[in-house]
Amino acid sequence: MEDIQVAAQVTELAYALDTFYFLVMGALVMWMAAGFTMLEAGLVRAKNTAEILTKNVGLYSIACIMYMLCGYSIMYPGGFEGGVFQSLSTIGSGLLTSSDNTAADVIASGGDTYYSGLSDFFFQVVFVATAMSIVSGAVAERMKLWSFFAFAVVLTGFIYPVQGFWKWGGGFLQEAGFLDFAGSGVVHLCGAAAALAGVLLLGARKGKYGKDGRINAIPGSNLPLAALGTLVLWLGWFGFNGGSQLVVSDVENSNAVALIFVNTNMAAAGGLIAALLLARFWFGKADLTMALNGALAGLVAITAEPLTPEPGVATLIGAVGGLLVVIAIVTLDKLKIDDPVGAISVHGVVGIWGLLAVCITNEEATLGAQLLGMISIFAWVFAASFIVWFILKKTVGIRVSEEEEYEGVDIGECGLEAYPEFTSAE
């Protein structure tokens, strides 16, 4: 009798530990919103800073609400109860909470139910916010704020959850053997595909490309913020990848989480150094912004499979990401695809590399399944996003006026400046 009680207590304790771990990892991922916000604020011009901050805090909140309303239930239809599609009636009467696991259920499951259903919702909701954050940087400095928010509603409530279901909800990509541990494809390639569709319809910032084919640099206004943002993202990524193990309460899984932390860290380091070196030899000087993108590229590259590589291999996978991102940024510029922060290169080009790199270290991966996942995600998100952007463009418009762009979208969209000068209190 006592043994049974002890076993039940251990099961409860493991449940508590796994839930706690899941929530803390989710909180780290939430902090990636701060990373994206600071990175983007640093890489735009001062006159567009307040607007990019507004966009980032706004999109995060929209993502949370839309995912609660319908995103989660689209992505996990057979799973946890919640969302308008499943139970409209529960809104206002303890949405989601009524159906969380009871102690009896957990004990009866013998450890198969190992974390709170709400902790899963929380962990998933911060991922969709990450995907949407990727879009905001690429369309920075020229997009209408409210058109962006309208797009955020559709991406976080529908476009993202559909392809998320294909993989993590148990859809056809899961069945096809497509491997994407923490979301190089589902999160990063998704965000980049949506961003690319938006940028193509939006056009480049005024003055970015000259008449004679000249490519003009538009330097960011605050590199300390960009560096801080990158390091915040680097920290948040431990939650992103480390939390995706989903369970930590035994030796095997806690070792796995530790390995994921180490690999995630090494890939970022490899990416940063590779990008910094390439920039130094290619451009003659150590371009900080490329180094920062390199670290993020390393992180994106390892996200699809942070568990099977040895740390040395993880460093190299990250380093290849770092090289790719520099080449991609320069190439996109040549194609006149204006992405002020390099989001399409970091999350799209390197996201693809991450999906392919799974095949290097994971014996269960097949190139065919990885390509299927990559193409499916890109095609769906790009096409759906393109349609939404196109409708927005033809109805309310997606681009601010030329004059507003010149004056800065801070005043035009937000009516305030990040760094006001010559103001009087009287």
Binding site: I215, N216, D287, V330, D333
Partner: protein, 112 residues
């Protein structure tokens, strides 16, 4: 009296200040300025794209001096600000009609 205006490389400012102080000059006015001369601007790369820095930062110093020390001051500025490389700057000398020390009302050479 002469008004001596010199555009120099900013990193030479301290040396020039010391050199003119050694001659006994009691005050100078310094402004951070930007501009271009024969040095022109230069190009830099940001994320692989070129951008041109048309106007380079320089320090502009202004000194009002008595006629008898003007040559000495000009020589001191030229000698200390010279690196021999393009972009060392220029010295302009103009006649100064009047100078007044506001506190005492002294005028002319007394006031500089």
């Amino acid at each position: 009296m002469k008004m001596i205006t010199a555009i120099i490389k900013p990193f030479k400012l301290d040396d020039v200040r010391e050199a003119v102080a050694d001659i006994g000059i009691q005050g100078i006015t310094v402004t951070e300025v930007k501009g271009f001369g024969r040095q022109r601007g230069h190009t830099e790369l940001y994320r692989g794209a070129e951008y041109v820095v048309d106007f380079l930062p320089k320090a502009k110093i202004e000194l009002a001096v008595a006629d008898d020390v003007a040559e000495q001051v000009i020589e001191a500025i030229a000698n200390t600000a010279r690196t021999g490389k393009i972009g060392d700057g220029k010295i302009f000398v103009t006649d100064l009609a009047q100078a007044i020390r506001i506190r005492t009302g002294e005028t002319g050479s007394e006031a500089v």
